[in-house]
């Protein structure tokens, strides 16, 4: 039965973009992938993509001179997900579930195609081929400059993928970018909450100072057991479910796992 003939025609949207001080910033937002592209992606990745896969979406920063650029897209992010099942998590009621199965279904013990279905990724962006690489640095992103209420010339928020973890929480990779007259900030955030098990947050920030051509990339990984977070919140008067849905607030209390800063200066 051939039922591949699609009926929807997604609005063919041109990417949004802005060019400023020799940098071109662009984003693209389209609907989730259809069946055929999903199949193709599954084949190339070797794992089933998340339920909501925005495979055509991206955020890109390119320097007009010097062939330098970095972009963020779903495929490359998913390619870094563990495909072996070594770092596989289990849902909260898994033990209970499997125990009840021991008696009735001896035969069914095989986990089909094991992989990290939380789609955890430490993706820090895709550099253009032959682009100059980053070098380690201790220099932080100048937060004070970013706190100034400079006019925002360009802003966008782009989801790359999302999965409801079969109603056991949420996993999501999304990007936010804002461009001011003198600088830009891009935040790509991986947020995963597996209810009653684990909360994980991995932020990649790209900071560009237009005048100097300085680019700083900062990667911060935080995570904590779900119950521990709940305990921390129990003492407060916060609305706990709302708190657990808000990565910004969670970010303030989750313990740090890893932090890495890199930098490069683009010349003329």
């Amino acid at each position: 039965m051939a039922t591949t003939c699609a009926t929807v025609s997604p609005e063919a949207k041109k990417p949004n973009s802005i060019t400023i001080n020799g940098f071109r910033i662009s984003t693209q937002k389209l609907p989730i992938l259809k069946a055929d592209p999903i199949e193709e992606m599954t084949r190339k990745l070797g794992i089933a993509p998340p339920e909501m896969i925005f495979g055509d979406n991206y955020v890109a920063i390119e320097h007009e001179k010097g062939n330098w650029g970095i972009n963020f897209n779903a495929f490359d992010a998913l390619d870094l997900v563990d495909k072996t099942g070594q770092s596989m998590l289990q849902v909260a009621y898994s033990a209970e579930w499997q125990k009840s199965r021991e008696k009735t279904h001896e035969g069914i013990k095989e986990v089909v195609k094991p992989f990290d279905w939380s789609y955890s990724t430490d993706y820090k962006g895709t550099l253009l081929p032959n682009a100059r690489p980053f070098e380690p640095t201790t220099k932080p992103i100048p937060i004070e400059l970013l706190k100034r209420p400079d006019p925002i010339l360009f802003f966008d928020e782009v989801i790359l993928y999302e999965d409801e973890l079969a109603d056991n929480g949420i996993t999501m990779l999304s990007c936010k970018i804002r461009v001011m007259p003198g600088r830009l900030l891009l935040l790509t955030r991986f947020f995963m909450r597996l209810d009653h098990v684990l909360i994980r947050l991995r932020d990649t920030r790209i900071y560009v100072e237009f005048a100097t051509g300085e680019v700083i990339r900062e990667y911060v990984s935080k995570e904590c057991k779900y119950e521990k977070v709940r305990q921390m919140l129990a003492a407060t008067r916060d609305d706990i479910p709302a708190f657990l849905r808000d990565p910004n607030r969670l970010s303030e209390i989750l313990p740090l796992v890893e932090k890495r800063s890199e930098r490069l200066v683009l010349g003329d």
């Binding site: 909501m52 596989m88 579930w97 056991n168 209810d195």
Partner: protein
Amino acid sequence: MSDLDRAIEQLRGCRLIPESQVRELCYKARELLIEEGNVVSVDAPVTICGDIHGQFHDLMELFRVGGDVPDTNYLFMGDFVDRGFYSLESFLLLLCLKVRYPDRITLIRGNHESRQITTVYGFYDECIRKYGSANVWRYCCEVFDYLALGAIVLGASSVLEPTSSTALSSMPADSELETEVLNSRGDVTMSTYRPRQRSSSNASTDSRNISPPRDISAAPGQAAAPSRSGAPGTGASGDGNGSATTSRTGAVLCVHGGLSPLIDSVDKIRLIDRKQEVPHEGAMCDLLWSDPDEIEGWGLSPRGAGFLFGGDIVKQFNHLNGLSLVARAHQLVMEGYKEMFDGGIVTVWSAPNYCYRCGNVAAILELGEDASGGGTVARSNGEYGRSNGVVTDNRVISPGRRYRVFEAAAQDTRGMPAKKPVADYFL
């Protein structure tokens, strides 16, 4: 105009009804649902719908595309609530329609019709926000416990009546219309045909004789062996006429999630004690949670809980139960519907632009009535003896399937996430 009709009108306008009325409605709904079996029998024609998830305006669009209750006979496969912003309006309207027209709308349970899930994914919060207390949430959850677990559609036609005359003229010779896909304006965007079927007794009309599909489907009635009349006591043969007449189209099982390794016959679903919160394991859990996958046999989901089932499982289950199709919901599909395993199972998804950001289309599945059998079909399911080879040579044919695809409603955007993101000074 009765209170109920007034409530329906009010809810259609996306306005809530008072808490006291909700309590009364839920009480009446429970009285009604308690009489339904775990597997409800539904006669074709019927329109089968997947997840709604509180997308009220899209539910209205669904009714616009598929026809209104009671003109159209509907079967909703669960997940009425959570995620969207109007779970209350959506579920209460469906419930009102159920109480008002019990024979024209069937509601079965999805995994979101559960206390635990609704506290996490929005419905509970929505009840608190809109009614100021958890009372309405509690009334609704009590109704959830009484919802049927599945439905069997009987008497579906194997051939589709073409939507337009042009479709008829473009039909290949010696073939019949099997599936048709329509957009929300009613234009046919795709059709598939299959070679015209003959009944196993070969009593069919001469295949060179080009006749409208309806005439062709008239033949197979005679092909039925009298031994296959419905066994007494099986709910699926509930019309009780015990007629030897059978449709060549098998019945269609509708469940929210999928099959269970604990369930090898439809009758086993009937034995479940369903009036409870959705358990974390067991047959009831599987029916609401499992997913088909391109595997062989049964598999465990990598998540550590939940089953996946392959095409061989579906084929065997359908064969043993005289089914031609399993219709299920539960998984987002960009095209609104997705057939798998040679059309043995279909996923129907009825929430367009899911979560107001996925940009997907939605679909509903229409099954037509078999005009040949002269009434209700007495094909039973899961009946004793069905599996011992009696039916093997008499292949069941899948029903003609019309998918109506629709997009998200142009709606009033109050409370919706802004289309253009609002710039903020994130750090």
